[in-house]
Amino acid sequence: MPHTHTQDTLVGLFVAAGIASLFFLGLQVSNLSSFSHGNTYEITANFSNSGGLKVKSAVSAAGVKIGSVKAITFDSKTFESVVKMDIDAQYKTLPDDVTASVYTAGLLGEQYVSLDGGGSDEYLKNGSKIEITNSALVLEKALGQFLFKSAEEKKATPVDDKKGRK
């Protein structure tokens, strides 16, 4: 019967379109394609302050995303934040003396881990620990320090002096 044939075709097209959109969302829109969870290796870094870093925050080298944060825990002995990261297995030649820093993407953006520098012949492997780290810049702390400093400066240079200089 031709009637049921068209119906079959239309339903087939509909289902195909629906599944294609699901694939589109999975592959084009989300990060599913960029990392396959199996092919990663894990490294650790201790920060004295990891700031607003979250699980799944990006780990990048030279601005390219190469991995993501897997877990953030607090070490109660050293009072440090232990950040575990999954790095994509294809980037296996990262020197083991890189510096891990927590940066912010733009003024209001998310925080991420950046791996820079290093020149060692040894590479990071699964379970390696990064020794050199830079903590996150906490805005309140920085502002506080800035205000404190300028207040000190004010004290040091009395009002008369200022006038005199002018």
């Binding site: 049921t4 119906q7 079959d8 239309l10 339903v11 097209l13 509909f14 289902v15 379109a17 629906g18 599944i19 294609a20 959109s21 699901l22 589109f24 969302l25 999975g26 084009q28 829109v29 989300s30 990060n31 599913l32 394609s33 960029s34 799944k56 990006a58 995303k65 733009g106 209001l108």
Partner: protein, 259 residues
Amino acid sequence: MEFFRCLGAGTRASFTKLGRASFFLISILAGISSVLVRPRLLLKQLHSVGVLSFLIITISGLFVGMVLGLQGYYILSRFGAEETLGVMVAASLVRELGPVVAALLFAGRAGSALTAEIGLMKATEQLSGMEMMAIDPIKRIISPRFLAGFLSMPLLAALFSAVGIIGGQIVGSGLLGVDDGAYWSQMRANLDFQDDIINGVIKSIVFGFVTSWIALFEGYDAIPTAEGVSRATTRTVVNSAFSILGLDFILTALMFGDN
């Protein structure tokens, strides 16, 4: 006193209705196995529920995406963050608008049609007729429609989101000059498959379940007159809309609450 009497009667009525609806749902679910043996029944309903909603979903998705692109651009460009337009469009579509708007359109397009169809079948004694032929109308009429609605909804929602994202891209990078690469790469970097896409799909599955259930129950429970069916159809749309929006709040709180 009169007020309390009415309140009590209203409560009792809604509870008995809820009870009937639950029994109805159980028998629908029990009937699903017999639908799987007869894929032809399912296919026919996928056609009338899914394929016929295809056009309205696609067109609405395109326009919603385009509007999001436009509005998002105006706001984001104030902060110099037009690069994140893709994230904004995709996140709002995939997490909220895709499942919710597609479900609302589905309730209006397919849900009301289901209610009217079942209500009229009841009014014209087709359902009793089947029962007297020793054919269970739940298994042959209701369950295939339920399954079709339940399966179509995630597909329609995904379609809505996908078309909407493309619509946002057309407006954003085609008309307003957002960098095309930034649109996609920002989107890809910031949307998570598990957290965003899968949760969106789960939402749409829940909405498809509830909307089909409400639509079929209202039809089955309708007073078999022209007026009764028309009221049942209205109730389908109203109750579906309430349930979709209410459930969306609960699901959002559960899924994205810890972020």
